[in-house]
Symmetry: C2
């Protein structure tokens, strides 16, 4: 199958899409964005065309090398295996375990509980509290874990997949007005990452589908 330029199905504000955008930027992979607006027209992820691409009706999905991959961490692991430079997983298996543990904690233990489709199932007046609880409960654990794994970044001094999960999750925390004072380690790693070019170009405020009033 002819493999053209990779296509990322993405929504500017989706934290899972942002993880993948950072990976693509770090690895210098040129790609096209197809925006999937999660709120317009009742949610474009529910269209027949998109469901055929990702039956989970979620972004991101990446068309690359003749296949379509969804689930952000599965995408990042594939990019790591096929485009290993610069690496997003350390060489040492024990450090790789720390990276995956932190990534899974965020991608499986925090984000799914505060995403749009779950919040819709909660009474409207409870949604903010629900999201805040999911994030603070995860961040309480994460702050403690980072104290033993972190160097400059989440695991040691190299940017890893864990950092690609951290920054978008902190952005969600800010959107849901979570007080970040109890999380000095999370906050300072987040600050150090946000200045890196790959985190800047992939930022929700700089995407093709970012509404004008949110651009920066």
């Amino acid at each position: 199958m002819q493999a053209g330029k990779p296509i990322l199905y993405s929504y500017f504000r989706s934290s899972c899409s942002w993880r993948v955008r950072i990976a693509l930027a770090l690895k210098g992979i040129d790609y096209e964005t197809v925006p999937i607006n999660l709120i317009k027209d009742g949610g474009q992820q529910f269209s027949k065309d998109f469901q055929a691409l990702n039956p989970m009706k979620q972004v991101p999905a990446l068309k690359i090398d003749g296949i379509t991959i969804h689930q952000s961490l599965a995408i990042i692991e594939y990019l790591e295996e096929t485009r290993p430079t610069p690496r997003l997983l350390p060489q040492d298996p024990k450090k790789r375990a720390s990276v995956r543990m932190i990534s899974d904690l965020i991608a499986g233990g925090i984000q799914p509980l505060q995403n749009l489709s779950v919040l819709k199932q909660v009474r409207e007046e409870m949604q903010l509290t629900w999201a805040q609880n999911a994030i603070t409960s995860g961040f309480n654990a994460l702050e403690q874990i980072l104290q033993s794994t972190a160097g400059i970044y989440c695991v040691g001094d190299e940017v890893t997949m864990a950092d690609l999960c951290l920054v978008p999750q902190v952005a969600n925390a800010e959107r849901f007005k979570v007080d970040l004072t109890p999380y000095p380690t999370i906050s300072s790693i987040n600050k150090r990452l946000l200045v890196l070019e790959a985190f800047q170009v992939s930022h929700p405020c700089r995407q093709p589908d970012t509404p004008t009033e949110l651009r920066a």
Copy 2:
């Protein structure tokens, strides 16, 4: 650090613990079980000792090679990297992507939404419906995905990490009385896996902490 026999902190009914128990059985890794009862004494996962081990207050956690890993998929990936035989990820990167996509769909897209700590936050009369919705919505997608990835098992004809996620999730579906008729592919793969020895010895009805009345 002296690395003795690995210790698995596990709860017989936890689907995430079961995933890891299958991996340990398939790879022939001898280990000790330390049962963490998620309901007794208000939940033993909330004890100070266990929180020091896993700040997320969840099972499983595995002490191995002088480190403690939590998050079931991070544990399985570590076992795969350090004890590669028999392999739980195919050699082909595209098939590995399918395995991780299915694993993440279950571990990040279904299980977290129907686990005990989340259900506790839902009104009691709504808990069953909430869990059923999470599972059917994920299974609708999974059934469609498996139609293009499955052979005898979830991805091709070898047992992979995806199968380690599938079987415990189907058991949860049964506990929550989900009608499995719409999922013939999921059901038949599940049946083929359940007869394998590694899935039998790791089964919730055969653990050191399985209550007598649930033993089989």
